[in-house]
Each structure stands twice: as C-alpha cells, then as structure tokens.
C-alpha cells in the first residue's frame, strides 16, 4: 500500500527524553532530597516530592503536545535542479488543545510555531536539489519541549507520499536549432504575423501588443487578441538527437533552455525524446508537460 499523504500522531509515534536542564533538574532534586533527609525535614520532603510530581506530570503534557497532531503534505511546486525544493506541510489539530512551541525538522524557517485548535498551519520543508528527477519529500520529525523544557518529545519520522519534480537545470542561452536542416515532417519558425487569421481569444500576458484587437475593447471590456493559425511548416520541433551535447544531461539542459525560451516567444513547439513524442503546442501547461518529460527521462549511468 502506498504511503499516505496525511498522518495523525498516535501515542506510540511519540518518543521522549530529558533535555540537559532535565538531567540537571534530576540531580538537583536528588540533592534536595538528601538535604531534606539530613535535616529530617518533612516540609522539605514534601517540597521535593511536589517538584518531582510536577515534572513527572509535565511529561504527560509534553507528550500531549504532539499526540493527535495531523500532518499532511500538499503537492509541491516543481523546481529546476539547483533550486531548493519546498514541500508544504499542513499541520493541524482537530481537538481542543492548542499545541505550543512545535519544531519541524528541515524547516525552511527554523522557528517554533504553534497550532491553535481547529487551525491549520503551513510549514515548508526544503531540500536542496542537484539533479533532475523526482525528489521525495524528506522524512521529517516534529518535536517539542513544552511546557517546562525539561523533557523533549519528538515524533516518529513522517514519510509521506509526495514528491517534487525537478526539471533539468537550464543551460546557458543558445540560439534555436536550424529547424530547416531537419524536417522529416516539416518544421519551422512560427510566423505569427503572416498567416491565416483564425479567431479571437482573451489576452494573456506575453501576447504581442500588435495582435490586440483594440476595436472590440469598448464593446467587450476585455482585451481580445487576434490569433493566427500556424501552418504545419511553421511548427518547431526540439529533438534530443539534434541537440548539442556532450552527454545526455547537457542535452536535456539545453532542451530545457529552449523550451523556456520558446514559451517566452510564444512559439508553437513540440518535443521528441527518442520514442516519446509530444505534439506541438503552446502555453504554460504544455511547457510543464515538456519539462516534466525532460525531468523524468530515464537516467543513464
């Protein structure tokens, strides 16, 4: 069975040890008991036992501070290799006890946080990435020393079924390959301002101002853009075989750079990675699909 994406801390998931001050407290209480015994002092005995009782009970509070916490992972945004992958964790509690002074391992901002009843807190776990592929969410632990700082409790490692897609690191800009040199099906530069008028669509960031249909603006109150159907010979294809190397990773990095540039220039681009062919298209989701293909292309050793 696959790992869950959400986990609730059961009592058995929580471990505890005394902190440094906790050990100091233990020695100090023993010494107090010795003094009380030496002076045959009932009140001093009672005081020692009261302190010991409070600290023993504080263990229950420390455990309760973690027990019942819910940690779930939401999908992480993909990153390029070399960037830090950030996994958002949602930490929430559904009972009436606020959880104070919690610490998350590998926290992007390592500060203590608290979770109020019925509230969700988002903490990002970040790991550095070096190569493309899938980076699993790191196993992290939640810890707390509340209320007295004499005991330190932490949870079992949480391994959730979430990973982050790491795209290849884009290489330095290079001019697009010569599409004319290789045209098994036919590829070319999109001539966006020369071909057949196709219709209107809504303005998107990056559209050329020259394509905005200003006349319709007062009527529709939205910016409309004229689109032109690109003919087959104006599609551009990025092919792994025709990408300069050396080495697969360099090639993939180069492809990555071209896809980013092509998307910026609103080209109509397709991708061919050996047997895997992605038909030409444009737009953000097309770019992500292409980059994910690059990221998950089998590694060569």
């Amino acid at each position: 069975m696959a790992d869950p994406v959400s986990i609730i801390f059961h009592r058995r998931y929580v471990y505890m040890l005394p902190t440094g001050p906790g050990f100091l407290f233990g020695f100090s209480t023993l010494a107090m008991l010795l003094v009380a015994t030496n002076y045959n002092n009932g009140l001093a005995h009672g005081f020692c036992f009261l302190l010991a009782g409070v600290v023993i009970v504080s263990m229950l509070y420390t455990q309760r501070n973690l027990q019942g916490l819910t940690v779930s992972a939401v999908p992480a945004a993909p990153v390029f290799a070399g960037q830090r992958a950030r996994f958002p964790l949602i930490i929430s509690t559904f009972d009436r006890v606020p959880r104070l002074s919690l610490w998350l391992e590998k926290d992007a901002h390592p500060v203590a946080f608290s979770v109020q009843p019925g509230e969700s807190v988002r903490r990002d776990v970040s790991v550095s990435t070096t190569r493309r592929g899938r980076v699993p969410i790191p196993a992290v632990r939640v810890a707390s020393a509340y209320p007295l700082g004499l005991f330190f409790a932490w949870s079992r490692r949480i391994e959730l079924a979430r990973d982050c897609v790491v795209f290849p690191e884009p290489s330095a800009p290079l001019p697009f390959p010569d599409f004319q040199a290789d045209r098994p099906v036919g590829s070319g530069v999109v001539r966006s301002d020369g071909d057949d008028f196709q219709g209107f669509r809504e303005y998107r960031v990056g559209d050329s101002y020259r394509h905005i249909h200003w006349k319709s603006l007062p009527r529709t109150n939205t910016l409309q853009v004229k689109t032109f159907a690109a003919s087959h010979d104006t599609e551009c294809w990025f092919d792994l075989i025709h990408t300069p190397g050396p080495g697969l990773e360099r090639q993939l990095s180069q492809l990555c750079r071209w896809i980013i540039d092509a998307e910026v220039q609103q080209l109509h681009y397709g991708l061919r990675l050996g047997p895997v062919v992605l038909a030409p298209g444009t737009g953000h989701s097309h770019k992500l699909r292409c980059l994910t293909l690059l990221a998950l292309y089998p590694l060569t050793d």
């Binding site: 994406v5 959400s6 040890l17 001050p21 100090s28 107090m32 003094v35 009380a36 015994t37 030496n38 002076y39 045959n40 002092n41 009932g42 009140l43 001093a44 005995h45 009672g46 005081f47 020692c48 009261l50 009782g53 409070v54 023993i56 009970v57 504080s58 263990m59 229950l60 509070y61 455990q63 309760r64 019942g68 992972a73 939401v74 949602i90 929430s92 559904f94 009972d95 009436r96 006890v97 104070l100 002074s101 610490w103 391992e105 390592p110 500060v111 203590a112 608290s114 009843p117 019925g118 969700s120 988002r122 632990r141 810890a143 020393a145 509340y146 209320p147 007295l148 700082g149 932490w154």
Partner: protein, 677 residues
Amino acid sequence: MRDMIRSLIQSYRALRPFAPVAPYPRQGDVLLLLVATVLVVQLHPLVPPWWVRLIAISLCLWRVGIERVGWPMPSRFLRWALTGAVFVIVLSQFHGLHGRDAGTVFLMLLIGLKGLEMRHYRDVMVVVFLVWWVTLTGFLFSQSPMTAACGLLSSGLALTALIRMNQSSPTPRRRVTHDAVGMLSLALPIMLGLYLLFPRIQGGLWGVPNDPLIGRMGLTEEVSPGSILHLLENDEVVFRAQFDGPTPPVEERYWRALVLESTDGRTWRRGVLKDQSTPLAVMQESKPIRYTTTFEPSNKRWLPVLDWPVTVPPGTRSGYGHVLASTTNLLSSLRLELTSDRVFSTARLEEIEKRANLQLAIPPTPRVKALVAQWRSLASNPAEVVRRALGHFQSESFYYSLSPASLGDRPVDQFMFDTREGYCEHYASAFTTLMRVAGIPARMVVGYMGGEVNDVLGYVVVRQSDAHAWTEVWLPASGWIRVDPTAAIAPERIRYGIDLLRSIDALGWSIGDVPRDAMLGLLQRGHWDHGLRWVKHRFDAANYGWNKWVMDFGPEQQFVFLRTVGLDQFGRPLLLLLLVIVVGLLLLVGQSLLSMGRLTSDPLQRAYQYFLRRMGRLGLTKHSFEGPLDFAERAIQERPDCERSIRAVTQRYVAARYGLSQPVSVASEIRRLTRSL
C-alpha cells in the same frame, strides 16, 4: 571514565533528532522571575545579616531597571568583580560555604547575581532552580504553614515563568494558568504517594546544626515560690496527647515532669538520687492508659508523662521518681507512644531514699512543730496525719492567690501562720515540709495539670500556663501516693483549669471564696467566648494535624502510618516497587484525564461521516481498507444515478483533506451535497 561519559553524551545526542534553538527569554518572563526572586529572598524565614537581603534584592532591582528603564547591562568585568566580592564576604563572615546558614546566605546572594546577569535560556533555567533551592533552605529554618505558603507562592511564580518562557508565541494568560493549575492538580496525588510511601531514612547524614532559635521559657529544674507563677501568662503549647481510649477526667490528668526531693528551705531541686530509676510494680488488675504525645521542641530533656508511666520508649530513659527524660535535648518535636497506669505499687523505700525524702534545711519553728505534733497526737497512722493536714488547709482560712505576698527567711512558718495565701508551689512546698517534719517521707513533683480537650480531634493540649506542683508522700501501706494540697484549697483550679482562675483573679475576687452563682456565671461563657473557643480549637487542631503529618513525619511516623494501612511488613525494595506502581497508575489516570479533552472536533471528518451514513442508508458501506476514491468508484457503479453527488463530495473531501482548501467551508458544502443525494 571521561571517554565513557563522552560516548554516553554522544549517543544521547544521537538519539535526539535535533536540538531546537532555545527560546530567548522575553521581558515579561524575566520580570516575573525577578518578582519570584525578590519574594523568595524577602519572605525567607532566616534572619540573615542585614546586608544579605539588601544586596540580593538590589541586584534584582538593578535588573528590573535594566529591563524597564533601559539602564546599561553591567560589563563582564563588573559582574566578575561582584561575584568575587560576594564570595569573599561570605567566606570571611561564615568561614566557608558549608552549613545551613552560610549555604543559605550564599544561595541568596548567588540568586541576586544570576538574576542580574541572566541573558539566555540557560541562565533563566538556573535562576528558576535557584529559586526552588532558596525555597527549600527556607523550610530548614521554619516548617510553619506560613512558610510553606510563602514558599509555594515564590516557587509557583518561578514555575509559571518557566512555562511562559517555553511557549513559542505569547499565549493568552488563561492558557498558562490553565496548564499550571492542571499540572499542579495532577502532581498533588503523585506528591502524596511519594510523601507517604517513599522510604524515609533517619537524618543526620552530615550533622544538624544546634538551633539557637530554641531558648524557650518553661519549667526549670529548680522550683522556688514564684517560679511556676511566672508561667501563668505563657500560652505556649508544651505537648499534645491523644488517648487511645477515653480521655481521663481532668482531676486525674497529672503530668509529672520532675521529682524534687532536695531543698534548702526555699528552693527545691533534684538531689543525689536523680539518676536512679525505680521500676513500678503493676498490679494484676491494671488498667493501662495508652496514649501518644507530641512534645514541642524545648531544648530541655524531661518529658511530662501521665501519672504513672509504666513503659520506657526507645530514645528515653527513666529517672528517679518515675519520670521520663529524653536522651537528647528536644531540638525538634518528638512523638512518643506511652502507657500509664493508675493501679500500681511502688517499690519499698530504701534507706538512702528515705533519708533524702526526710531532709530539712531549716529547723522547724516552734509554731510549726506544735502544729505537726498536734496532728500526730490525734492520728493513729501516717495516712491519718496526711488527712488531718489537708483538713487543716481546708478549715483554716487559706487562700489561693495569683499575686501572693513574698516570703522571708522562714517561708513555711510565715506562710502557715501569717500570709496564708499562695500559688500551687507555695502549698506544695509547705505541705512537703510539714510532712517531713511529721516524719513522713515526702517530695515535691512538678509538671502540668489538666490541659484542654480539643473539641475537634479530642486530644489534650497542655500549655505552659498549666504548670503545676504537688506533693507525694510515702505511706507504708501503699508506697508513694499523690497529695495535692491545692485541690483542698482551690478545687476550681483542679476542676476548671487555670483559665477560670485567671478570670476570677481579673475580677478581683479571692480564689476559693467565690460565690456559687458568680462561679456559674463565669462558667457559662457568652456567645463571643464560645465563638472564640470554636475558632481557637479548630486552629489548634489544624496546627496539630500539620505537626503530625508534616513536621514530625519522619521514619517513625511513616512506620506508624504504614502499620495502620497494613503495609509495615513490606521491606524497602517492595515499598519502592509499590511506589512505582502507584505513580504509574496515577500517571495513567492523568493521561486519560488529559485525553478526555481531545474529542474530535474536525468538521470535515464529521461531514464525511455524515455522507457515509447517508450512503449506508442506500445500502453502500465503506470498507475499512477502502480509500475515499475507491469507495466512490464502487458506489458510482452500484448507484449511477447518484454519480454527480458522490463525485462532488469525494472530490471536495479529498481536496480539503489532502490539499490546501479550508476544511470548514468545504464541510458545509459536503453536507449540502449529501442532503441532495
């Protein structure tokens, strides 16, 4: 060894996943801790040299100035100089840091220094521990309920500061109080278990200091006219006695402390016989009276016990005249289980004892001789002489007075024929002398008489003002018997106690001559007196309970407690095991109490449960191994007509549970969709 410790520390660090950054103490926490520090120093029962409190509190106030006014932090050099100065002062004044007084003063100064310089989390921890330590040293000086309350206040404040500092973000004060009170109330049963069951060890591991605080008034080893009278206004408790059976009536509650047989005519003291002990022969039809006495600290050794003691408990020895004494001075209170018996026969009189008890320092005057000769001529045996002498005190006009005239160099003669007024020691002294003149061995006994029965717990509390003196005479038929001439002159003293005598005296009446109606009026006290008595008795009962369960609860008392609950057969290891079990059970109870507050209030979960119940009514139940999506697929196959609702609910639930949408709004949406099923 060092390597071993280092590897231990390393493996301990490896166990812990990571060390969180210690919280930086906030200003509010520091100020709260400073309040606790000033309180613990100021409310400490030790009366140290005047500069100790001054230095400790000024150091703390300096820190308050740093926090509130913005004074600069003292430089490191200044801090070191201050620390060095404190060391030098304490070392020169107390010749070391050892011992209770020096140690306490040192801790007080240290807490001031540490309070001034605390910066980091660790420093604050140390100050909290020091507050607890200074509180503990306070209990070594006084174990009164007041000291306990003051200690609880300051150490509780320190605990609160510690909790506050360990909170990541400032939390509502209600939350802090809630947690502190909750922890204390769960800790109390654990403390009680530890207190009662943790095996106590007899103290004195490295010596207990001589306590100069105890230099109390009380009975002295020498009795002369007026030496008991000055205790009249002294309401200090001498001891409290709890009887196993019914409490004996007041006329029989004579508590003997000292037997004085040597006299110089005025002053009575213990003579050569004082270290000889004479056992009592208990008769067959004995009626033993068992009782437990708690003696207050007195720095003396003798122990007032009920007439006549027949046991010698461990830690005590018996002296001449059937009196008990502790083997050490009573520096702290002492609890003893004692037995007395009224049916007895003393041993026969040895020659040396007889001589000592017939000794006269001043030859009797002719008037006294004539009086005694008259009694002897009329009586056929010594017992008859004693009766006649008592009759003489009753028939002639003798008065019991709390302000008698002073006596000259022939005290017995003057008292019998001229002044004729006196307090119990005058009568006992005169009667003993007269008996000796008559040839009957007689001796003076001092101790206490009566005592007040507590309305609440039924024990007898005896105060210094109950001090009394009486006579014992030796008769061939019965041995030593008690004769109290005061009872013949002022029966009120015996029957109603010293309080009534005081009020009679305050009204200016002469004791022994009070009209019956006036006496009844005095005995029927007003509502105010009743109320006062009610409060006084409850207060005293609380004090008695406190002494019994706190101040005197040492190894012996623990054994008594364990015997009453039937655990006295347990050895120490077994007792410790029992303790661990008890504490473990209490922790389990605490844990279940704490988790009672964690009933689910997840609105999303409840909404999805509602959806599942509705599906169940349609004949579709989710298996425990099924996820929400799998269940939705199966449900759609069974009920294609509900496809839209099922999909919508499942999609929203999964998105809210595992995504970023707000659970609360989604929950109501799921409920709405479910209703439309």
